[in-house]
Subunit: 240 residues, 2 copies
Amino acid sequence: MPGPGGARSPRYLTIAATLRDRILARELAPHDPLPSERELGEQFGVSRMTARQAITVLESEGHVCRRPPRGTFVAEPRVRFRIGSFTEEANRLGRRPRAELLWAAETEPDPDTRAALDLHDGATVHAFRRLRLMEDEPIAIETTYFAAAATPGILDKADEGSLWTLVTELYGTELHHSDAVLESIVLDEKSCALLHIRAGSPGIMLTRRTYDAAGACVEYARDVYRADRAAFEVTASLTS
Amino acid sequence: MPGPGGARSPRYLTIAATLRDRILARELAPHDPLPSERELGEQFGVSRMTARQAITVLESEGHVCRRPPRGTFVAEPRVRFRIGSFTEEANRLGRRPRAELLWAAETEPDPDTRAALDLHDGATVHAFRRLRLMEDEPIAIETTYFAAAATPGILDKADEGSLWTLVTELYGTELHHSDAVLESIVLDEKSCALLHIRAGSPGIMLTRRTYDAAGACVEYARDVYRADRAAFEVTASLTS
DNA sequence: CAGTGGTCTAGACCACTGG
DNA sequence: CAGTGGTCTAGACCACTGG
């Protein structure tokens, strides 16, 4: 209640702040349902559209999660990843990783992929798109490219596990280091459907390269993570 | 009117896609104004609120930038940072960095800061909050903490330049490496005002520690970057 | 079938800016 | 002062889910 004339900030931000405080105070715990948008409108004396705007703020902060048509729920905290293998990261965090193969194919590389893998004209790639899950909750969509010439027969063998393990075992490749560019994006409709989040949700995109001991790029990948579930730990040496 | 029954996706996403295509095709170049929300509503035969929803999608993608009450404009592409000194990164990218000191003070550390800097009870910190700009465009807000005992007299000397350079020159500290946690956030009202973006815009938060050659943490910082202007390059060794 | 969030309408008033 | 985006209202219909 802003009370006498003091209200400086919009009502939807005041409502969002009230609900955020309740969540941070654990009055509302993860998985608890929030009141419906119609109920919140009544409670705060605003229209449904204004209550909805408040919920949208909390959703983009990752504090709540809409699950139509069941309702809106308090979200779980984020998982902290390092740049590397999803499988290894999940294991490090004591979670159960899983992969669902969406598709695998030998294709022409797009220009970025060709440049990253240093392919000559006409060379093809083995491409995989996989949904990555932890405890059966979808977290990320990985799209991975290997030079086809370097990975014969891999298409039939990619399954639910780690592609890195597979590449190491099949071809004796020693993976040495990775680099990545991280940026904040808005996920497209298809990705949101796969990740079980609403259209237009925020994500973090990693454009990632993995190198062998000789410094050759052996993997080029684009991963999109749910922004509400993932954070990334990184390190940098400053001795230039 | 969806027309001949084929419309699968909501109108606001269709409108956003149309405008996004024009931007990517450079039909609309950076700094060009978009039609106003009222005009777009007329052009696409929808209400202003629906046109507005389309613009909001493009805004959170970083494709456009609202500047009330002047209008909505096509945004510039993002700047690619590495984890490290804002000043050095700007120089590496051929940009002109600048800092505006918002405040500097000796204060009690919060629990996270105390733990990071490994301070004993009662030890204080020197805290700085600075707005970081490139070519006079605000990009990030840095909040930096040093142990007060290790940085005598620094409060008066912090100016427009690099804090790292200052620490190195004043105390002979050798900065060796950094680590950081990156996550996607929604910026609060005050930060948005400082960064000249609208309330509720997305940001990337870095929680950052810098260590000396002996492995002691000498700096703890929380930086928030505009998600529409910044991307981060990171590397990781895989030889565990 | 009741209730949810998703989408959408057709208005309204506001603060603020530039000309 | 005209025009902008910011906020807000009081409704509407939809697809979808769980009981």
